[in-house]
């Protein structure tokens, strides 16, 4: 009934078996012959949530809340709970996710395993910075409660550990206080990449959240033009009526990608030219989760799916490196409506394989055009590795072993904590196992 694919729908790799635990005390089907991998809500883009020929553990049945302290904001919930459910129950009491990625349809376990980040990274760090503890079930049957104090090495390996250290059963998270559902959003246009750096430097000091849309087709003097959207939670309790519930559904997969050179050029022109109020009040849903309004938006790329690309380049070389990457993409004429630029802050995550680090991150998707797409991304990798940058595994389906190893200098520490019973298609690919 349910297809276990990743969000990019590329690559398509089938597991030999799918198990669906419903209770924290369920005994998991660990065997020596078949590797296991937890699969949450399938929002990782590439192959890090796939386990070809192995067993997938669909954790969505582990969707119970365990405890919520309304005075301290400490929430303990099973790993299959979705972030959207947390918002639904905690926001009425004035609590918000400390860090949220661009979709609310990820599981709590997945948010930890990928150490996801959001528009507030410059102040709040990544998701793992707000995790107090979790319980890990290892393939030898051990159940370990991990925190900075207990089983600290496993705690650090599991945050951003791509599900390879065991199965996360529950997570304890510290939420943040907010007054309500309203965001005060400022929109600022910039006509070139330098403008992004000027504006975001100021905006990051005054705003908890900031993210930029960038026109990935702009070239020459307009290279890197776009809009910066920065925001704070409003201090008032009044709630503008939330947008019509439901939104749209992409009902089917079109035979070819609807994102092509023509549609992209048209969209980017219109989006860049669109007048926007300098400041406005907005419900948190459209600010944080614009794409969640369209169910199955990933189908827009057609049956071949798409490749998401997210890199980070360190401070120092960041302007020239991002300029070079954007120039390379603009020449290719491909890319997506939603190309995103953001400056990460200095707050370090406990995670050994955590992706966010100081510097500038760029994320965008590319329709899968086979060898051409892969070649383009290899070219981009070269520009990233030249300055000592990194690629985000949660979004990757093709990076080389060398690129992976260069991206994660603490990989050897991670390997000692890995659970030999767990594996993924991603892991076998980048480790050449």
């Amino acid at each position: 009934m349910k297809a276990y694919t990743s969000w990019g729908r590329y690559p398509k790799l089938a597991a030999a078996k799918v198990e669906r635990p419903r209770w924290r005390d369920d005994v998991l089907p660990f065997t020596a012959r078949q590797s296991l991998l937890a699969y949450g809500n399938g929002r990782s883009y590439g192959d890090s949530c796939l386990n070809e020929g192995g067993c997938l553990l669909d954790t969505r049945g582990l969707d119970r809340f365990i405890h919520f302290d309304k005075t301290t904001g400490v929430l303990r919930a099973e790993a299959g709970v979705l972030l959207t459910d947390i918002l639904q129950f905690c926001l009425p009491d004035g609590w918000f996710l400390p860090v949220t990625p661009g979709t609310q349809y990820v599981t709590l376990g997945g948010a930890v395993a990928n150490d996801v980040h959001g528009k507030n990274h410059h102040g709040a760090g990544s998701f793992g910075c707000h995790v107090r503890a979790f319980e890990l079930l290892r393939s030898d049957g051990q159940r370990l409660i991990c925190s900075q104090h207990d089983n600290a090495a496993l705690f650090q390996a599991t945050i951003g550990g791509l599900g390879l250290t065991g199965v996360i059963l529950w997570v304890e998270l510290v939420l943040k206080r907010v007054a309500g559902t309203v965001m005060e959003v400022e929109s600022q246009q910039f006509s070139a990449l330098d403008g992004f750096y000027e504006l975001s430097e100021q905006a990051d000091q005054r705003h908890e959240y900031s993210v930029a849309w960038v026109d990935c087709l702009a070239r020459g003097p307009a290279l890197g033009r776009g809009w910066l959207f920065s925001a704070n939670h409003a201090q008032t309790h009044d709630i503008p009526s939330p947008d019509r519930a439901g939104g749209w559904t992409m009902p089917l997969t079109p035979p070819v990608s609807l994102i092509n050179r023509g549609s992209l050029r048209l969209f980017n022109q219109l989006y860049y030219r669109k007048p926007r109020p300098a400041s406005q009040r907005q419900h948190y849903q459209p600010y944080f989760y614009p794409l969640d309004k369209i169910r199955y938006w990933n189908r827009v790329y057609g049956p071949k799916g798409f490749l998401q690309y997210q890199c980070v380049v360190p401070p120092g070389d960041e302007r020239s490196a991002i300029a070079a990457i954007l120039a390379r993409i603009a020449v290719s004429g491909t890319g997506s409506f939603l190309a995103v630029l953001k400056r990460f802050g200095n707050r370090a995550s406990p995670g050994l394989l955590s992706f966010p680090r100081p510097g500038t991150t760029l994320a965008l998707d590319f329709p899968n055009q086979g060898a051409d797409s892969l070649r383009l991304l290899e070219n981009l990798d070269a520009l990233v590795s030249e300055v000592g940058g990194a690629i985000y595994p949660a979004k990757d389906a093709r990076m080389s072993t060398a690129m992976f190893k260069a991206s994660f200098p603490r990989l050897s520490d991670f390997v000692t904590q890995r659970d030999p019973g767990m594996s993924s298609s991603f892991w076998r690919r980048v480790m050449e196992e």
Binding site: M1, R22, R24, R64, F65, F68, A77, F89
Partner: protein
């Protein structure tokens, strides 16, 4: 605020239904076999907004324990606005055919224990003069088929018992709701390949909540099953007996 008693509270349909009422601030008394899991469900409902959740272990097949369990529930809740009976098993038809014990056990769990609990609970509802009695029967109880007639006959017994109970309690202002789900993706049906007619327990929960609100008598969930069963029940027996269903 609704006061709700659930028998078989760890079942997938019961949990999904309870969550909807927890959102509304209901008070619960949960009965089920596994204490640790009852506690997990209770905590979940509590965080989701339940006013209060109490639970106790009960093996529905231990009919002698029903009276004290019901009494404790009434003690805790005061009165029962909604009783949901949701426990059950899906017996292996082939194994039942080869074993009297298996067949009797299946009937015991899916029919006798339900009828026994309803017998006691109906006295309480008659006395209260209000409330809703809700039990999960099945479309399988509408017509006997070779692939699962042991389960089907247990559910048929439950459906007919509920029908009589409804007739009896109607004048006392009590709703008796027979829920007939089709194919539901739960641990009970884990072994089946799932086709397009299968639905998630949340969908059934939504239908149960609506049927209680609308004071319905019998509800097929999803509603397409009303049509499917209408057709299936109209097939003449001399043709039906030749089909492999």
């Amino acid at each position: 605020m609704q006061k709700i008693l659930i028998l078989g509270a760890n079942s997938a349909i019961a949990q999904a239904t309870a969550r909807r009422y927890a959102n509304e601030g209901a008070q619960f008394y949960l009965l089920g076999r596994n204490k640790e899991r009852l506690e997990m469900v209770a905590n979940d409902l509590q965080v989701r907004g339940a006013k209060e959740v109490d639970f106790h272990t009960l093996d529905a097949n231990e009919v002698a324990d029903h009276a004290s369990a019901l009494e404790a529930a009434i003690q805790s809740l005061g009165q029962i606005d909604i009783l949901l009976i949701a426990h059950g098993t899906l017996p292996d038809q082939v194994a039942c055919q080869a074993s009297v014990d298996e067949t009797v056990a299946a009937l015991q769990t899916n029919a006798m224990s339900v009828i026994a609990f309803l017998t006691l609970a109906s006295q309480q509802f008659e006395q209260q003069g209000q409330g809703s009695i809700v039990a999960i029967s099945s479309v399988a109880g509408d017509r006997g088929r070779q692939s699962n007639y042991v389960y089907g006959s247990a559910k048929a017994a439950v459906s007919i018992f509920l029908q009589g109970l409804r007739n009896r309690l109607h004048r006392h202002g009590v709703q008796v709701l027979t829920v007939k789900p089709g194919f539901v993706d739960t641990p009970m049906t884990a072994a089946f390949d799932k086709g397009p007619l299968w639905v998630q327990p949340e969908k059934i929960a939504e239908g149960i909540h609506r049927a209680i609100d609308k004071n319905k008598d019998v509800v097929y969930l999803p509603r397409i099953w009303w049509l499917i069963m209408l057709v299936i029940c109209r097939i003449p027996e001399r043709i039906f007996k030749r089909l492999s269903l």
